[in-house]
Symmetry: C2
């Protein structure tokens, strides 16, 4: 049976159903998340914003205060000359502490956040191997977490939960890494293994989804109901938010934009196939071309990051081969972005990942190319934003995952 | 603020949110649609299937019976030897009559359905022009509708609503054809114009969405929560159902699979760009190659359909050039399907449209090509089904659109 999307627009097949979808979360959770997003709000502001009665807000906030999740603070007076300032509410930052960890092929990062989503500490460690065994993965994950805890002056037992992100096809619901370029094995029950190792609740996900969550919780997507995130680093990832919710594909395993084909019999991808988008724009694709363009010594153990930075400097200095590498990557990225826009028609496209330090990839001619490849049918052109959060954004997304799970447990059990 | 998807699984970012989404339609509408899908059900079966109390079902069905939408019929006895058969409920087929119309570049079709979604009559007319003015469009739409009404022995006033589908970028919510290959003008308020001409409520949509609705209401998608429909005719269309709801993209204007790029600087598309999927697989793409492969006389006004049928016969008879045309179309379609699977990871892909009479497009080697282009990451391979409903499926989808709008009006106003 077809299901309808909304209480207010019950039409199945009539109207842009997903667009009109109304809020279905419990009121207490909506109130709580509104409060966290706003920093501090008065009860009357919350009631107005949620379009519910002040009495409902008072009942819910009393319970949240009693549970230690929310506190009263002195609000900012609207008019300094008139009496005492109104009482505002805020999420209690000290109620819980959570951690987020992102694994990648050369370095791992971890952050510690408080319950208000504010950063307490961060740490980065280098990885011993490009592909890790399960034992190595658990060891290195623990190591970067301990490093962040040390910075924060906290112990592991202080944490209420951990979120972990890594590239690949991750079954978030089951906590299984079906395939990851970082792991030597397939079908690893990484969530359960890490939970056992750390003695803490653990949620895992694909790293592009984490970055999308970070945008949804803390970033440019905070005010948007539908947006797409495209990440370019060692691979090309994609995350999508529909109606304020992360979309993970029909089977919940994520969207493989990096392996959509942009050229038949094209460049060889590390997946073994040809013509994948990431075979033109990911780090490894640029590295193999850089070796031709630059005076590269194969006996030197130069890191991919360093080689690409050198390539970028050469391009800026006028090296035509170096420029040609970035230009092809940009033009091919334009094909991928145009395809995404044709299919999903998002309001916003966020480009992210470490390659965003190479401005060739989002230069005006690349964005013009996207527009020229996209059917002109009167639909609005989506905004394209470049994420410049730096490397810690991934780990913050992982922390958002842990925070989401914790909030769901706290507010979902005894529903208001 | 991020919105949660469900009352039962309030986790934002935790779990495959759209997958776990629960039912949010009013109970009376869910009950009604379950009844229509099942044909006839007892009150106790309805209560069990909807997981609600028998008392709720009795209250709602009493109201639906009083309103003339539902009737009691004699049910099938479970055990012939034991007493009188149970009373079953059914949607009253005669409660309303609606029409669905599909416009295309060479022929138009219309169907009349009863309130139970059963076909009463159908008709087809030929089109005078490939591209029509608004006046021609309204005239030809009226003509095919009148033809179907004549077959049914009904008058226009007997209809409760009309659904209309045509190719192009259609703003369904606003009733505006932003761009259609059939129309000489852009931004046409076709919904309102046709409603005024016919004196009836009219809903319009992109034809691929109609076909997706037909699958959702009457076809292979009836039992599926997530599926994709790809249509190949004069163009390439796509429709997608997520969580039993039609997805129309971020702006509600549909998904332009046909204009995603499969080859940089590739074949010229009728949109004016190069390398679009439809420039390799749509009718016009095959027609222009057929003119080279066949002994084609440019002075003969041979229809595209006839030319392609001749091409297909030649291919079957061993003409290498003809086979090469279908083979390239099939291989390129495989790229498009593989990209769709990488991005959306659907449970089912339905191939539809008049080109499905050419079995080269879904031959085993095409499906093998799809598999070989798709990343092997342990995710389940989607089922691929070929729709063999014939030409009337489009108009039935248009009728489903009208039926959906009518049901929404009847059951959405005074909510149970």
């Amino acid at each position: 049976m077809p299901a309808d999307s909304s209480l207010s627009t019950p039409g199945r097949g009539c109207g842009p159903l997903l667009q009109r979808q109304t809020e279905t979360r419990p009121l207490r959770q909506r109130l709580f998340e509104l409060l966290r997003a706003s920093g501090a709000s008065s009860r009357s502001d919350l009631a107005r914003e949620l379009a519910v009665s002040p009495a409902s807000v008072t009942a819910i906030t009393s319970e949240l205060i009693a549970n230690g999740l929310v506190a009263e603070v002195e609000g900012v007076p609207r008019d300094a000359s008139r009496g005492r300032p109104p009482v505002a509410l805020t999420v209690r930052p000290d109620a819980f502490v959570i951690a987020g960890i992102k694994l990648s092929d050369d370095a791992h990062s971890a952050v510690i956040l408080n319950f208000a989503g504010e950063m307490i500490a961060e740490a980065t460690t280098t990885s011993a191997a490009y592909r890790m065994t399960i034992a190595e993965t658990l060891n290195e994950t623990e190591e970067v977490l301990e490093a962040a805890l040390a910075v924060a002056g906290l112990r592991r037992g202080d944490l209420a939960g951990v979120g972990l992100g890594l590239p690949g096809v991750i079954d978030h619901a089951a906590g299984i890494a079906l395939w990851s370029p970082l792991l030597t094995e397939r079908g690893v029950a990484l969530g359960a293994m890490l939970a056992e190792r750390l003695g803490l609740p653990v949620a895992i996900d694909n790293d592009a989804n984490l970055l999308t969550l970070a945008e949804l919780w803390f970033g440019a997507g905070r005010e948007m109901s539908d947006f797409v995130v495209v990440t370019i680093e060692n691979g090309v990832g994609m995350g999508m938010v529909l109606q304020n919710q992360l979309f993970r594909g029909g089977h919940g395993l994520g969207m493989e934009l990096g392996h959509t084909k942009v050229q038949r019999d094209g460049a060889l991808c590390r997946c073994g196939r040809r013509g994948c988008l990431e075979a033109y724009v990911a780090d490894y694709a640029l590295v193999r071309e850089a070796q031709t363009a630059l005076d590269w010594n194969r006996d030197t153990a130069e890191s991919a990051r360093h080689l690409l930075d050198r390539l970028f400097a050469e391009a800026k200095a006028g090296n035509q081969a170096a420029r040609s590498i970035f230009r092809r990557a940009g033009r091919t990225l334009a094909v991928g972005l145009s395809n995404v826009i044709q299919l999903f028609d998002p309001h916003l496209v966020i480009l992210s990942g470490s390659q965003m330090r190479f401005d060739y990839l989002y230069a005006q001619d690349v964005l013009s190319e996207v527009a020229s490849l996209t059917l002109d049918t009167g639909r609005p052109t989506p905004r394209v934003e470049i994420n410049a959060w730096g490397d810690m954004v991934w780990a913050r997304g992982a922390a958002a995952l842990a925070l989401a799970r914790l909030t769901e447990q706290l507010l979902g059990e005894n529903r208001g």
